[in-house]
Symmetry: C2
Subunit: 377 residues, 2 copies
């Protein structure tokens, strides 16, 4: 769900402005225009939907990887194996923001022809928000799934070291008159960004989020940075930590073992400051996409009308004390998107500084300005 930063918002930019800047930066490194625009669209969608951690705030990392030649700007993306409804894809070490959308398209094409399509991808890199991909499936009236592994951060239950990524799962279902249900969740107890925020504020984190380097529970976020690990969804055994570990393992295997990518602790790092794993067991990181044609199961409109009914029934759940009742998965992101596409995307000063640094080093212009009215303040 939405991870809107609670820090002061200093600059507002339109998504079009940021999208164009990102695309120009990718093109500066030789990424073909269509691919650059595709990659920029994934980042912009993340910013629009309030997931600040996965939008242009990450552009500097992509920039560094491209500058050092660690990512191939002109990948030749190949289907390695396939049957009617499944395939594996080699991303040729391209941007995940380019490889992901192409592999997702293969899954969607298969779904339209054979009822469903499932694509496991190796030799790829960070693909942005998992939710982007099922949103594309919705445009074609399909149920879409996406998963990816990520650099190790999470300890398996009863482990004292990082072995798995935050390995997200996303899936979306279209409504008829209602907006879609969009589930997009890391399989860790909490997003890494929340630990970073606590660290900056010098505040403790709740019990159950992290362990220290000895595998002991701790509430000091610095302990996680100093060789500790995040805990899986459910945290402890008693609260279902084995379930979050199981889900993260499922994502790891579907994305990596099934495609021939680096699984578990061997996922290559996304950022330069992260350590490079001792072993390589495959190519790059891995993704897994799925798409299902609703009409293969049930009349499409009947399905969508039932989804509307589902949404109404769940919105009418008796609320827990001190709440307005349950949200529908995807509500916070959709609300953020409505506001931000109208009023602009707020960027923190360190993010603007990063973009200015990219601008200086690539020659792609970026203005240190308030691009929009500051309604969000």
């Amino acid at each position: 769900m939405a991870k809107i930063s609670d820090e002061p918002r200093t600059h507002l930019y339109s998504d079009a402005y940021l999208r164009n800047f990102s695309a120009q930066v990718f093109m500066h490194f030789g990424v073909p225009q269509a691919d650059a625009e595709q990659a920029a669209d994934v980042l912009a969608k993340s910013d629009l939907r309030g997931i600040d951690s996965h939008g242009v705030a990450r552009l500097h990392t992509y920039f560094e990887m491209l500058e050092l030649g660690r990512i191939n700007p002109k990948p030749i993306i190949k289907v390695v194996r396939e049957k009617a409804s499944v395939a594996s894809v080699d991303g040729d070490n391209g941007l995940g923001l380019v490889v992901g959308p192409k592999a997702n398209e293969i899954a969607m094409d298969k779904a339209e022809q054979h009822g469903s399509g499932w694509v496991s991808v190796c030799n790829t890199n960070h693909f942005g928000i998992a939710g982007y991909y099922p949103l594309k499936a919705l445009e074609r009236d399909l149920i879409g799934w996406a998963m990816t592994n990520t650099t190790k951060l999470v300890a398996p239950l009863w482990g004292a070291e990082r072995m798995l990524g935050t390995n997200p799962i996303a899936i979306a279902f279209p409504g008829y008159k209602e907006p879609p249900i969009v589930i997009d969740m890391a399989t860790s107890a909490v997003a890494y960004g929340k630990i970073e925020i606590a660290l900056r504020k010098k505040e403790p984190v709740p019990k159950g989020w992290i362990v220290d380097k000895h595998g002991r529970e701790t509430t000091n976020p610095q302990d996680m940075i100093d060789g500790g690990a995040q805990l899986p969804l459910g945290s402890e055994r008693e609260m279902g930590g084995h379930k979050g570990y199981g889900l993260a393992s499922m994502v790891d295997i579907l994305c990596c073992v099934l495609s021939g990518a680096n699984w578990g602790p061997f996922a290559p790092p996304f950022a330069l400051r992260q350590e490079i794993p001792a072993r390589s067991v495959g190519k790059g990181i891995g993704h897994f996409f799925g798409a299902m044609q609703i009409d293969g199961f049930i009349d499409k409109d009947e399905f969508k009308k039932q989804i509307d009914d589902w949404i109404h029934v769940f919105r009418n759940t008796k609320p827990a004390p001190g709440t307005n009742g349950p949200l529908i998965p995807g509500d916070p992101e959709r609300e953020a998107e409505a506001i931000r596409s109208r009023e602009g995307i707020p960027l923190l000063k360190p993010v603007v500084d990063d973009l200015l640094d990219i601008s200086k080093r690539t020659g792609v212009p970026f203005q240190n300005r308030r691009a929009f009215r500051e309604k969000l303040q």
Copy 2:
């Protein structure tokens, strides 16, 4: 994972004896022999794997439903719609223990022909342990998935009433020399059986398992019984309760909205004592099965050898203090199966009493005896 009761074990029976008894009971109600043996096999597998709550301990409930004509002993199971890799199935109100295996077979057949198969099922009933179905897929060297909705027990995050079942997800991956990885988990924080055990022992439950009828957190298991609800995996917002709610919703939609079954709070009850929902929005409860052919993605042996490597690497994770390190999903159930197939299945006295009651009312003989050496004591 395994839910071996920690109460005194009073009677040991071989799985063959229990399997035969269950099959005879189903046949007593007109279930054809092959179907009766299939249904009995699902129950026996659950008992063998240590999931006592889903084995013959449930036979009395099936018995009651069949006796009252609430379940159709001779269903005509039909494919309602299909495309190459997907289908929906109407279970004709049969035993889930019969409908589930048939629908799972359709998914597996499709996987062998088209790379993957996905089947959503309506008009069915409780199907036993979700893990049974991916275990069948492993016999055909496929990756198997299974989900089902169940009678409402769980509140969505920020809700104060039962709206979703414990909606389990299971998936399994074959190893080469190592045993398979078998993930089988409810999407609630904890199994309902654990709340029942606390109730019998008059002990409090941990914070985060349940809420009372006002939606307030409580540690008194009686509060859950008195109109309260279980919490989803993750429990509170801060610990990821929205994620467990999202997963339970995903299961609900794939099993029910996609098949035309009763979703959310409208799932019909499994047991006679449970209330009948005010509305019906479809037919029976719903399941969802998936199967994927490994060779459609990657060489099968290469995949299995990587799974072995994955298992070795995860077994070698540095252990957290006070533990022996992480388990591999499926370890506890496999260990239970090894012991119980050798030494017998321990049944509690109330379960034996239930079986004796069935025996008395059906004329199918059941001996109140210790069938095996009592090695487990």
